[in-house]
Amino acid sequence: MAIEFNFPDVGEGIHEGRVVEWLVTEGETVAEDQPLLKVETDKAVVELPSPGAGTVLKLHVPADAAIEVGDVLVTIGKAGDPVSGETADQAPALVEVPRPKPTEVVQTAAPAGKRRPLATPSTRALARQLGVDLASVRGSGNGGRITDEDVKRAADTPSGSAPIAVAASVGVAEATVHGEVERLPVTHLRKLIAGAMRASKQISAHVTHVEEADVTDLFEQYRTVKASVEADGGRFTILPFFIKALVAVLKKYPIFNASVDEERGEILLKKFYNIGIAVDTPQGLIVPVIKQADRKDMVELAAEIVDLATRARERTLGLDELKGGSCTITNIGALGGVFATPIINQPELAIIGLHKIQDRPVVVNGEIVIRKMMYMSISFDHRWIDGAEGARFMTDLVNLVARPGLLMARL
């Protein structure tokens, strides 16, 4: 009998994705566990293996199609087995040049046994407008009724479908009046980033504190280690010093390594130090997480950073490598700028910005000398952390990076 392979629930609130490409064609014979297709979910591209051996009878969704958990992706069976007909939604052809080939049509009827979410017509219209799937919203009203507020909240949650298309449409219609425009599709990753950024700005009361660090000595240490590691054929960057300094200060100020459960009114201080590293990729920002940074030495950290960054650019990171962070570092100094005000990676409470290192004249013991200087910033959630805490945190942090000896004592 033919089996239908659905887009599986990969957990952690991921319920949509995009088919990047099919690795098999209809009529092809596949073995169990043979990769069938590549799917872009959250911030990773994953290969989905075949659940069994057989002939590919039907691909139900075209490449590039948006898919949701539970959608039938492919039917596998013996040649001649009957295939049921539905496919995933096809994109509305509103600006159609040129038209895609006809595909199969979605049936309107809901599958038997699947209850409709309880929501009024106006709330359902709002959900469509904000791109929220009501099936994934928990209603807070009487008898589980979904309210407008529930829909708006879902729209603002990063894991929810991003309402970007609509939000961005303000003034878009007129754009074409003022001159020629090029229309580019918004990628799935871009939508996720946009949703996450907007949500973070709405959730947290961002404040940024900037401090200056003298990294002359640290840089010296870094050069020594780098030469040694590279002589052994490895790779080394300066980032591990900052990770280690950060972990040390986070241990002293645990509120910066925390999340807040607002519903229960509880602060969750994390007893683990998983540091997210913002990586710039051609498709957009990706933040892989270095797990247990406190238990790894700097050489190990350097190797892991190189590996994660490379695979982030290749889009081959596993989903678990993008989750579970407790604090994040964004290293934007290499690209220039004095300092920036990064956006917190939810549900964390702080993000550290590392800015450009440059030689600057500095007054030391009454004399002007040339030192390697840099600005370091922390953007934190002022709802839960006071400004004074932020200042103390940064004073300690720059102290550690300015004095590698002190840092060594804290490893």
Binding site: R99, T108, L118
Partner: protein, 472 residues
């Protein structure tokens, strides 16, 4: 393109000007689209306005009046010498049709919707040709909405002859009341028009192939209707297949019953109402690859999109319930989707009304559907025999039944049988769309004395706290 023909362009072409098509065209025009509406003509409005909903309701109203004034003796009303002028009745009905179809034309012109008369056929997924009285023109479009509706199904052994074997269209414009009318098919159209002629004086026999009338109808409702049909002296021949018609000296319709027993029914006129089929066959759909189901209905998604990008379908031709108000809603959804708005057909309930005597109206899930969907249900019924308002109308036939989820008490469906219940089903549909619980309806004050009180009473019965009847 045919040499010498005219070519036109527009953003959206809508094919068919029935309730689906004209609403889609008007809404598209309101949304700023440049629209051409194509219709076979001669008048806009489709089956609904011309030969369906509206004209049939006009005749039903007059037939009801005629019947009632002759049956008011118990209320002290004695009428002698009532005469029925059918040509005048039909002319009055035609006047209503003219006013309404003229209204659609007026709205089209005020909204700058251009109307082209003729039969449309797709040449490609971006163009179609319209064959009209003035030749063939080609229309190029960016988007097309197919709204060609449905038509009465014909049986090969009983083809329409336009005279003695007719469809519902002709039955709406008869010039004399047939002494003996045989209706083939006990669906809602056959029963509505059969009742009209029974009340106007015809001897009516309804021949139905299936063992029951309107098989999808709630069985309590079907029973109530059947009782009333008997009172109206309408003969019901269930389990009988209409075979042939002999229009000779003693005209008879031959039907075959169980055990192949042949029965000959005297029939001056035979009206066929054995179902409706989509008008999708001559549109050239296969040329552009638009998918249809086994019965010819066009397959669409909840945005009314067919499998061919840029081609939409709405109303009867898109299947589902063949109802004008379903087409209205689908038309608005299609127009808004085409205009880039996030519309979708996501209605919880599509109400349906049958204008028999008594009227039958329902919305949401039937008991069977609710159970099939896995609900444990609770129902509550209020009988019009206990209704003050029904007694004052001398119409105590029927009931209102509420169906709810036994656990959550959410209202799932309502069925009503009785005089004027067509006006009561709107409230029930609103309750369903708003996701009402039984308590919501039970705690809403309903005006007294009205037929609509029965809805509140039925809901209270489902909650086990009815006041005006004994709780089960």
């Amino acid at each position: 393109m045919v040499v010498g023909s005219v070519s036109r362009g527009c953003q959206v072409v809508v094919v068919g000007a029935g309730p689906g098509g004209y609403v889609a065209a008007l809404r598209l025009a309101q949304l700023g689209k440049d629209v051409i509406l194509v219709d076979k003509g001669p008048r806009l409005g489709g089956v609904c306005l011309n030969v369906g909903c509206i004209p049939s309701k006009a005749l039903i109203h007059v037939a009801d009046l005629a019947y009632e004034v002759q049956h008011g003796q118990s209320m002290g009303l004695n009428v002698d010498g009532l005469s029925i002028d059918l040509p005048k009745m039909v002319a009055w009905k035609d006047g209503i049709v003219d006013r309404l179809t003229g209204g659609v034309e007026f709205l089209c012109s005020k909204n700058d919707v251009e109307v082209v008369y003729g039969s449309a056929r797709f040449i490609s997924d971006r163009s179609l040709e319209v064959a009209g009285d003035d030749g063939v023109i080609e229309i190029q479009f960016e988007t097309a909405v197919i709204a060609t509706g449905s038509k009465a199904m014909e049986l090969p052994n009983l083809p329409f002859d336009g005279d003695r074997v007719i469809g519902s269209t002709e039955a709406l414009s008869l010039q004399e009341v047939p002494p003996r009318l045989v209706v083939v098919g006990a669906g809602y159209i056959g029963l509505e028009l059969g009742t009209v002629y029974a009340k106007l004086g015809s001897e009516v026999t309804v021949v139905e192939f299936l063992p029951e009338i309107m098989p999808d109808l709630d069985r309590d409702a079907a029973k109530a209707l059947q009782r009333r049909l008997k009172k109206l002296k309408i003969k019901l021949l269930l389990n009988h297949r209409a075979e042939s018609y002999d229009a000779g000296e003693d005209p008879v319709l031959v039907a075959v019953g169980p055990d192949d027993k042949e029965i000959r029914i005297p029939a001056d006129l035979v009206m066929m109402s054995v179902g409706r089929v989509p008008r999708s066959a001559d549109l050239g759909l296969e040329k552009i690859g638009v998918a249809t189901d086994g019965k010819g209905f066009i397959t669409v998604n909840d945005k009314q999109q067919t499998n061919v990008p840029g081609i939409y379908a709405i109303g009867d031709v898109a299947g589902g319930m063949l109802l004008a108000h379903k087409a209205y809603q689908e038309a608005k959804v299609a127009a808004e989707v085409i205009a880039g708005e996030p519309a979708a057909f996501d209605n919880v309930a599509i109400p349906a009304v049958v204008y028999t005597d008594p009227e039958i109206a329902w919305t949401g899930l039937t008991e069977t559907e609710a159970v099939d969907q896995g609900y444990e249900i609770v129902t509550g019924t209020f009988n019009f025999k206990a209704s003050g308002r029904a007694m004052t109308l001398d119409s105590t036939d029927g009931f209102v039944k509420a169906i709810a989820d036994a656990q959550t008490k959410q209202l799932l469906g309502v069925i009503a049988v009785g005089r004027g219940v067509s006006e009561l089903i709107g409230e029930a549909t609103l309750a369903l769309e708003m996701g009402a619980f039984l308590e919501d309806v039970g705690l809403t004050i309903h005006a007294h004395p009205t037929m609509s009180e029965a809805f509140q009473e039925a809901v209270e019965a489902a909650l086990g706290k009815a006041v005006h009847q004994v709780n089960k």
